[in-house]
């Protein structure tokens, strides 16, 4: 029996230009839903037209900047659909868990949390898409950073 080829949507890949987040029209719905849920998790009152801006400039931009600074360690950075918090997965280049880098991952989590976000940033050592799918819904995840 021939197995049907699994068709899967790619990550919503975000692009950053001068700190601004660029999202394609096709991906806009997924992006806006993530922004709304991320702001909702903070339990702050934000006008509907402000939550995308707040999420972009105060969460995604600093996270992307941090990825660039630590690019030598990071293969990709993904944001799963926010629930009562924003789950972020940082995939590293190594199969081993990197304890030194883990302190930097903890530090960015604390920085974002102290800026008011309900967030959990976790290290996933060299995970392929199949392993990633254990942790995040690939259909709705945002790719904040990809190396190469």
């Amino acid at each position: 029996m021939v197995k049907a080829k699994k068709v899967r949507r790619e990550f919503v890949r975000l692009n950053f230009t001068s700190g601004e987040v660029i999202v394609s029209t096709r991906d806009m719905d997924v992006f806006v839903i993530s922004a709304a849920k991320a702001v909702e998790a903070c339990q702050v009152e934000v006008k509907k037209d402000e939550y995308v801006e707040r999420f972009s400039s105060q969460f995604l931009a600093p996270l992307h900047e941090w990825c660039l600074i630590n690019a030598d360690k990071i293969r990709g950075c993904y944001l799963a659909v926010p629930s009562d918090h924003v789950p972020v997965f940082v995939v590293t280049n190594s199969r081993r868990f990197d304890f030194e880098f883990a302190e930097k991952v903890a530090a960015i989590e604390l920085q974002l949390a102290q800026a008011g976000w309900q967030v959990n940033v976790l290290q996933l050592p060299d995970a392929d898409d199949e392993s990633l799918a254990t942790f995040i819904d690939l259909e709705k995840a945002l790719q904040v950073y990809a190396n190469g």
Partner: protein, 124 residues
């Protein structure tokens, strides 16, 4: 809601259990039990200080981020390890953590630091 003393009893039980798990065969379970020991230490501390009760992992994490940033990194590493231990395959997990990483870092450094920090505040 459990009292501080009930959390203390859970910590003692988890610690006792932790000492019985063969690290070479079940390093994933060592990490999981270490994390849940830390979790009850935090909840014991929270109840002792009159800071209410944790309503789940997100609430507890936010409490640590807000009130106890000194132990945030320690707790974060245990939580990260526990998540990988629970959801990844054994072959993946065992490739990520060597037994010595677990004893030297997650147990001797992270868990012990959280316990010492909480002990000081609870005693104070």
């Amino acid at each position: 809601m459990p009292t501080a003393d009930q959390h203390r009893v859970k910590v003692a039980g988890n610690r006792k259990f932790l000492a019985t798990i063969p690290l070479d065969d079940y390093s994933d379970w060592v990490v999981v039990v270490a994390f849940y020991t830390a979790l009850h230490v935090v909840d014991q501390l929270r109840a002792t200080l009159g800071h209410g009760h944790s309503r789940g992992h997100t609430d507890r994490r936010a409490y640590i981020q807000r009130e106890h940033p000194k132990i945030h990194t320690h707790y974060h590493l245990l939580e990260n390890g526990s998540l990988l231990a629970r959801y990844e395959s054994n072959s993946d997990f065992f490739a990520r953590y060597q037994p010595q990483d677990i004893t030297d870092n997650l147990l001797a450094l992270r868990l012990v630091s959280i316990e010492e920090y909480a002990r000081t505040l609870i005693a104070g």
